[in-house]
């Protein structure tokens, strides 16, 4: 029977822990708001991981790990389409380009990185299918989950802190009137610049995250950094209506409200 749920109620770290402790074998698929991921486990160890198809091709993994030059990559790309990863790996080993352990290490690092990115997902439907076969033609590794779970728990704590700092994504950003920091002294990452380009009281954080395909945690982390740097502040989105809470005297004429307030002020002074 498939194990199904949402990361909101059962986090990715909890899932990894369950798979690790129960020594599960099978395929875990996660469908996030903008992305999807596919992982395969054998007896509680990670065997394969890909996100949005990235990490799926051995050639791409080797190239991203800078183990192939651009010209080698282009030359192999034409031939590789005919082969599965297993066949290509064998070819590269036989041709003396890599040893088997080198290929496995590069793959392990790539799969670890995929798992790290999944720690930032707070939302997404998951399904674990113990009947699913291993991904066809892919090279499987045996990666223990213990360290990843510890790393994930750290992420979880950071996530909880970020959630406290920025409890909702339905708020907007505006540039502070007087930045505490000299912008010229700031070294911003590409992602931070991209978020800055969307800063406007009309755009909620949720909309910015969707536009830039950032997870809840990623947008919170970037915005938190920008707030700490004194560049932006959170504001209520312009389009959002104020909550309909009835305030005291709101239905009275101004003169009456001022008179009532003055009465209260006089009384407090005399206490």
């Amino acid at each position: 029977m498939a194990l199904k749920g949402n990361l909101r109620s059962f986090s990715f770290v909890q899932l990894l822990n369950l798979i690790h402790l129960a020594r599960k074998t099978g395929q875990l698929s996660i469908q996030g708001p903008n992305k999807q991921a596919l992982l395969y486990f054998q007896q509680g160890k990670l065997a394969y991981a890909s996100q949005d198809g990235q990490g799926g091709s051995l050639l791409d993994v080797l190239y991203r790990a800078k183990r192939l030059t651009p010209s080698q990559y282009r030359a192999l790309q034409q031939r590789a389409s005919r082969y599965t990863d297993k066949e290509l790996g064998l070819l590269l080993v036989n041709a003396g380009y890599f040893t088997p352990s080198e290929i496995l290490n590069v793959l392990k690092n790539a799969y670890r990185e995929t798992v790290r990115q999944l720690f930032t997902w707070a939302e997404g439907n998951f399904e674990f299918n113990a009947q699913a076969p291993p991904p066809r033609g892919k090279i499987l590794v045996r990666l223990g989950l213990e360290n990843l779970i510890i790393e994930g728990a750290r992420h979880l704590r950071e996530w909880e802190r970020l959630q406290q700092e920025i409890p909702t994504l339905d708020v907007a950003l505006k540039f502070v009137d007087r930045p505490r920091t000299n912008i010229q002294d700031l070294n911003l990452s590409v992602e931070e610049w991209r978020v800055l380009s969307y800063v406007s009281p009309r755009n909620t954080l949720r909309q910015i995250a969707n536009a830039l395909k950032l997870s809840d945690m990623e947008i919170r982390r970037i915005v938190y950094g920008l707030i700490q740097a004194g560049l932006v502040e959170l504001v209520r989105p312009e389009a959002k209506k104020l909550p309909e809470i009835k305030l005291a005297f709101s239905d009275r004429p101004k003169e009456e409200r001022v008179s009532l307030l003055n009465k209260i002020i006089d009384r407090i002074r005399s206490l």
Binding site: P167, I227, L242, F249, K263, I264, R267, I268
Partner: protein, 186 residues
């Protein structure tokens, strides 16, 4: 008889119940309960629903002071308490920087409930390790337009000062919103 209310909010153990007790003409009606969480064993009881004090303004007008529960698990009460308030006071324990974060979060929550004036009261200023008011402003990321008033919740004059600062802010707010309305009508 007309009644108005001011909400006193803030993190756990900030001194909200004491603040109200100091100026209330009645014994504060408090619904304290034994604390269950180990992390919050700074004191033995906490306010789980609300407590309120009363100040009679005249024969036709009564001001109620409502204290919110300090622990976030009771935050469902906050929206209810916000209904019909004149304004609110965020009480912060100046000696416990670990609660500033929570104070900031409570402030944001209340601001979202109602666009009403508020002041921040930096409580326990009589204690040696109290943070300076201006340092507190920076730690809470408050703009220059937000009043941060030093406070000692056990001292009546100090509590009166906080209440008066809030009331002055409400008067200013009324003036501003009225000017805004007149402009938009023009």
């Amino acid at each position: 008889m007309q009644t108005v209310k001011i909400v006193v909010t803030g993190p756990f153990n900030a001194g909200k119940t004491q603040f109200i007790k100091t100026v209330s003409e009645i014994d504060v009606v408090s619904t304290d309960k034994k604390i269950t969480s180990d992390q919050e064993r700074v004191k033995n009881t906490t306010t789980v629903a609300m407590d309120f004090g009363r100040i009679t303004i005249d024969e036709n007008l009564v001001l109620y002071l409502f204290g919110t529960p300090g622990q976030r698990r009771f935050d469902f009460m906050w929206e209810i308490l916000s209904e019909g308030m004149l304004g609110f006071i965020v009480l912060v324990d100046s000696t416990r920087p670990e609660t500033f974060h929570e104070a900031r979060s409570i402030l944001e929550t209340f601001k979202a409930f109602a666009p009403t004036p508020y002041v921040v009261a930096a409580n326990k200023q009589d204690l040696e390790d109290a943070w300076d008011v201006e340092d507190l402003r920076i730690a809470l990321r408050l703009g220059d337009d937000v009043k941060v008033v030093p406070c000692v919740a056990t001292d009546k004059e100090s509590v009166k000062k906080v209440l008066l600062e809030l009331l002055y802010s409400i008067l200013e707010y009324l003036e501003k919103s009225d000017r805004g309305r007149t402009k938009s009508q023009e």
